[in-house]
Symmetry: C2
Subunit: 138 residues, 2 copies
Amino acid sequence: METDGATAARLMTEQNRPGLIVVDEHEHPLAILPGSQVLRMLIPRYVQDDPTLARVLDENFADHLCDKLGEKTVRDLMPTERMTLPVVAPDDTLLEIAAIMAATRSPLVAVVEERSKSAALIGAISASQLLGAMLPPG
Amino acid sequence: METDGATAARLMTEQNRPGLIVVDEHEHPLAILPGSQVLRMLIPRYVQDDPTLARVLDENFADHLCDKLGEKTVRDLMPTERMTLPVVAPDDTLLEIAAIMAATRSPLVAVVEERSKSAALIGAISASQLLGAMLPPG
């Protein structure tokens, strides 16, 4: 939550991820920060409302757009309506994880050490990884 | 839209993508098929409502879960409420694409040959790729 926005954006782009898992000060997973949300912070509201306005903004404007990311934290970037981030434990079954992911429509589940409200993040499972484990070898 | 569900699921897992862009018979992009939606089709509703039920289902059940994917098409898998898929043209600026992605909260934009309702898909841009192009070199 306290990482600065520029570091978060760079992590997302270097690892080519659609979003990041945000953790609290005890490494417990809290939410997903989607890439589009970082863009929402960068692009002024009046340009989002009318994207054709982007054509008339000068290059100088675009070049300095990212400067403000360094002054923000991930906490500042988080959407007010947070994306659900389901949490699973190492002994949950594939079918159980699939049911949780399907029910919550989440692209990811966070894996924590044990089922408790403060357990630390130890990994993540994407829908495509889970499908890969469930599909018969072909 | 007419690809069978098993082929779509395999494409998603082999390429490790969070979703696929679905096109019509003229290759025009229509919508995103998220991985979690494929899981929704596989996991019975009563198990989604109570994921702990997954623990009591036998292995035979899990093994045959994916069989029905081959009998469905992507059209059958699509959610009734489709995810927005914004479309851009090759001469759109970075700032314009960022504004569109921010406004629609889409993780992807589809790139088509030209701005028309039937233009074919030629590529896609993710939020992380776009951020990577906008961030100053660091």
